[in-house]
Symmetry: C2
Subunit: 265 residues, 2 copies
C-alpha cells in the first residue's frame, strides 16, 4: 500500500486506518472499478495530489469498506481500482433526527454533528416557530457525507425533504419511538428516562428537537399524543436548538445506541 | 415593566422571562446603578433601540438575576437602574473543560456550547498534536459570555490562560476528578461508567478532550496515572474534538450534573 497523505485533522486512532475515505454509490467488490465524481476527482488529484497507485478507502453503505488504488487515466480522468475489503458492513442504529431547520452555519453544524453521532436520517421539520423557509438539501447532504467520510462510519445518513410537523406526525409509523426534547418540562432527566426504555433498544427511534422559538403548545400536544413518545428535558439552562440536538443524540447513543457495545471499525 | 423587544432567537420557555440579559461585573442590589460597557451601551441603544425605562435583566455570577431599567442620560451615556431580583444565585456544577484549542469557528463553537452546557471554566491545553499555536482569550471569553447571557445561566465560565498538558497535570489538584475522553479505548461506555462514579457527584470535575490528532501515547499515560481519572470512550465513530467535547459534557450533566435535579430558572 502506497503511503497516502494524512487526512486533514484526522485523529490518530489505533482502530482507524489513516488516509482518505470516500463515499461512493457504486457496488464495491474485489476487482471492481469505481469512477469518482467530479468533486472527488478534483479532491484526489488537485487538492490531495494523490499519485497513481495511491490507496484510498471506499464505502457505499452496503458492502463494507474497501481499499482502492488511484488510477490516473488522464488529466481529467481518474478511476479507483477496488482491491481488498478492510471492514465488513455492520448494522447501525436506526435513529432519525427530526429537527426544525436553523440558519446556515448552524444547520451545517447539525448535519455534520448528527452524521458523526450516527443518525440514519435527517428530517427537516417545518414548525410554527421555524424561522427558515427553505432548506438546501444538497448542502445538508454534502455536510452529512463529508462528516461520514471523516468519522469512519460505513453509511451516510439519508436526507429527507422537509415536512410540516402536522404532515410528518399524521403519517408517523407507530413502531418508531420518539425521544421528544420538551423544553417546557425541564425536570425529566434524559439518561434515567432512556434507561427505563431499554425494552426499546434496537428499535427504530427518532429524536425530535424544536426550533429556536420552541414548539407551539398545540404542536407539543400533537407530539405527546403519539403512541411511543418519551419526553425529556435537558436541565435548566436554555440550549440552542443545535446544542440540544447534539446533546440528545449523545445521550441516546450512550444509553440505547452503539456507544454501549464493543466497537468494530 | 415596559415591554422589551424579544431577544433574537430566544425560545419561548415558560420558565424564562423574555428579553435581554446582560452579564455585568458590578454588584447587584435594589437601588444600585450599573454602567454598561461600551459594547453593551451600543447593543442596547443602537442595535436593540431600547427606550428609556425599558427593562433588561442583569447577572454577575454572585448576586442572582435582577431587573434593571434603562436610563438614557445622553447619546453616549446609558445607565441601568437595578430594581427587583428575579432569581436568587444558586450553586452550579464545578466542571472544567480542558480542551486542546482547535481552529477559529470550532473554538468559538466549543466556548459557546460549553457555556450553554454549564461548565465553570474553560482551560485551553497545548498538547503534542495541538495544531493551534495561539489562543484568543478575549474571543473565547466573549463567546462564553454571550452564550451565558442567552442560555439563562447565572454565571459565566472562567477562561484560563493556555497551559501545556505537562504543566497542567504537574500541578493538578488531586481532589478534582477527571473524565478522560480516551479514543484509544472505544469500549468503555460513558454513561455506565459515570453512573458508577455517583460517589463523586457534587465534587469538582474536569472533562479532558484531546486535539484532532489525539493525545500522544505518553500524554495518555500521564493522564491515566492521575489519581481520580475516569477514562471513557464515545463509541466506534471518530468524533471531531468539538463534537466529543459537547457529547461528553452532555453525558456528564445528564448523569452527575444538574440535568438530574428539578431546575430553577
Amino acid at each position: 500500500m502506497t503511503a497516502t497523505p494524512p487526512e486533514p485533522d484526522a485523529p490518530c486512532n489505533p482502530g482507524i486506518l489513516p488516509g482518505i475515505r470516500l463515499y461512493v454509490e457504486a457496488p464495491l467488490a474485489a476487482g471492481a472499478t469505481v469512477v469518482p465524481s467530479a468533486e472527488q476527482h478534483h479532491y484526489l488529484r488537485n487538492v490531495m495530489r494523490m499519485p497513481a497507485g495511491a490507496a484510498v478507502r471506499l464505502f457505499n453503505g452496503r458492502d463494507g469498506e474497501w481499499l482502492a488504488a488511484v488510477e490516473v487515466r488522464g488529466r481529467k480522468d481518474t478511476a479507483l481500482a477496488v482491491t481488498a475489503r478492510t471492514r465488513g458492513q455492520t448494522a447501525e442504529p436506526d435513529l432519525w433526527l427530526c429537527f426544525a431547520p436553523v440558519k446556515k452555519a448552524r444547520i451545517d453544524f447539525v448535519a455534520q454533528k448528527a452524521s458523526e453521532l450516527g443518525v440514519s436520517a435527517l428530517q427537516p421539520v417545518m414548525t410554527r416557530h421555524t424561522q427558515v423557509a427553505r432548506v438546501n438539501l444538497e448542502r445538508l447532504r454534502a455536510n452529512a457525507v463529508e462528516a461520514a467520510e471523516q468519522c469512519a462510519r460505513l453509511s451516510v445518513p439519508a436526507v429527507f425533504p422537509p415536512r410540516t410537523l402536522e404532515s410528518l406526525i399524521g403519517g408517523w409509523p407507530a413502531a418508531r419511538h420518539i425521544l421528544l426534547l420538551d423544553e417546557t418540562q425541564t425536570g425529566i432527566p434524559i439518561v434515567d428516562t432512556l434507561r427505563r426504555r431499554s425494552d426499546a433498544r434496537g428499535r427504530p427511534w427518532a429524536v425530535f428537537v424544536g426550533p429556536e422559538g420552541g414548539y407551539a403548545p398545540e404542536e407539543l400536544d400533537l407530539l405527546r399524543r403519539l403512541p411511543n413518545v418519551t419526553p425529556v428535558g435537558l436541565g435548566g439552562r436554555l440550549l440552542r436548538a443545535d446544542t440540544a440536538a447534539v446533546a440528545a443524540l449523545a445521550c441516546w447513543q450512550a444509553v440505547l445506541g452503539d456507544w454501549t457495545a464493543p466497537t468494530h471499525r
